[in-house]
Amino acid sequence: MASKKNVVVQINPEIREALLEMGAVDAYKCYQCGKCASVCPWFQVGTYEFLVFRFPLETVLGLIASSEEKEELAKEVDKIYRCVGCEACVEQCPLGVKIPDILRSARRILVDFGSYPETLKSVVQKIRNVGNPLGEPRENRGDWAKDLNVNAYSSDMELLYFPCCVPAYDARIQKVAKSTALILQKSGISFGILGDKESCCGEAIRRAGAENVFTETARSNIKVFEEAGVRQVLVSSPHCYVTFKNEYPDLGARFESLHTTQYLWQLIDAGRIRPDKEFKKKVVYHDPCTLGRQSGIYEEPRNILKSIPGLELLEVEEFSRNLSVCCGAGSGGLWIDWPVGERMADIRIKQLVDTGAEVIVVACPYCLQMFEETVKSMNLDIPVMDVTEILCEALGE
């Protein structure tokens, strides 16, 4: 019979106090039912031990990132940065304990002391320096639109279109921004862009713990929006959507945030655009965590897809809508290279491909980038597209 080991736990009230100061107050709500574990994507990955249900208790006992042994501490910090903020746990929790916020409180302290992954340091540095995480020149931010006859925003326009960083700069994902602009032009909506005046929305670096750079970046955007007289901002990224809607108002923002799937469905529903060109493919829709679970936007992207003639919409049985599995890009995950065999995007792509779909459809630039890379690394031959790209094709653009 195996001998029982006594485990001595050193309780650290100082760590608990520090985490509570940084916003980990939800830790006290948890009664350890373990329901969070049933939906945490790391349990589906199965090759990395991420015991999500332990974090609240570890906060109360002050055990988070507490090791004073170098290698052990490195593992603990790596673990803190494994949470992708998908909020599957929050949605299932009977008391709504926000475990991602608990981990974010630890990240905030680590960031202040330079004790976080170098790749994320580089992202924070680039956002502060040039306003985007790719380190691309600020003056090229509006280049995606240069062949499209898109105007600079003025206050008499209906909408500001804010593509954010990945659709503004990434050669593949620029197609999402271009498709959005073409659809808006076709529908006769007056809209403009701010080009190099805007900066990253900052959502990802806030979730990575870089609170100060987030606040500075958000204030800069708010100032630019106010000076331009912006009332409605249309965004391609659900990450921009949630931070504009839920976090910017705390910093004084007074504008409405609209996701492209919401707005474009309204245009179809009102008959302002009619997708009449066939898209004769079986497509499966992946609910981005930030659009679905975190914003409750499940129907609009599906409605757009269903309005397209010839398109057959498939669902991932059991893992659709609020049970969708994260692509792994949230909360800084996009920039951390987890080892092969420990990637949640692999699990999700397998679920999506197993539906028999010919095209994977998303409504988030992070999911798009993550899945594009994953289908290549898995040697799969299946296109990944954004809802706006398919709609644009169906409009004959």
Partner: protein
Amino acid sequence: MDLIVCIKRVPQTAEAEVKIDGSGKDIVKDRLTFDMNEADSYALEEAILLKEKSGGNITAVSLGSAEAEDTLRIALAKGADSAIRIKLEDFGELDGFKTAALIREAIKDIKFDAILTGCMSTDDSYYQVGPTLAEMLGIPHATLVSKIEVADQKAHVHRELEGGLIEHLEMSLPAVFAVQTGINEPRYASLIAIRRAAGKEIKVIGKEEISSEAKLNSTLEELFIPPVGERAEILTGTPDEVSKRTAEIIKEKGLI
């Protein structure tokens, strides 16, 4: 083994867009992030590893503005026992010589077996402070250090040379080691250590405490971005156009 580690807070410019300010002698820093100079973080880690093996105390020293205290606090959280900030605001313009002279004055009452510095700082890249400090103290030094082992009051030190050579030196102590990046893997600070470091006192010394008359050996005349050379061809266009042209050039040059 008592150790002193010299640490500098520097702007992170490796991947940044760098612009010259109106004085023509400095860069615009308001859109940059700051962190511990990279080589210094390796020097600090090496000091912590030496302390873990043989005990003793680590004093972190930084010549910098008040914000450098944030960087010193990181050193305290990672394993330094005490910290000193030399008030940059009291001493005006600096070069490697004057910096070394000020550090020498700041540490004159501290007992030490070795001083560790980064081999260079990423902002000024003088490579001077470690060797100059050693000369001023009349003790040996090694630059580009890639390994340190201490036994019987001797240090066995590796230096990384051009051509992939390693030089192995035996050195008497006390000595100054100017450490290369890559010598170790700098650690994170634990939350408990961060919390403790937050309450530690940082000794701040300025012109009242340091009577140095150190003069500059060199003065900065101008900082400028070099003009674009004529030999480089910058390819522009879509990724397809750029890769097509790249393939053509490789073919034209007979490389494939």
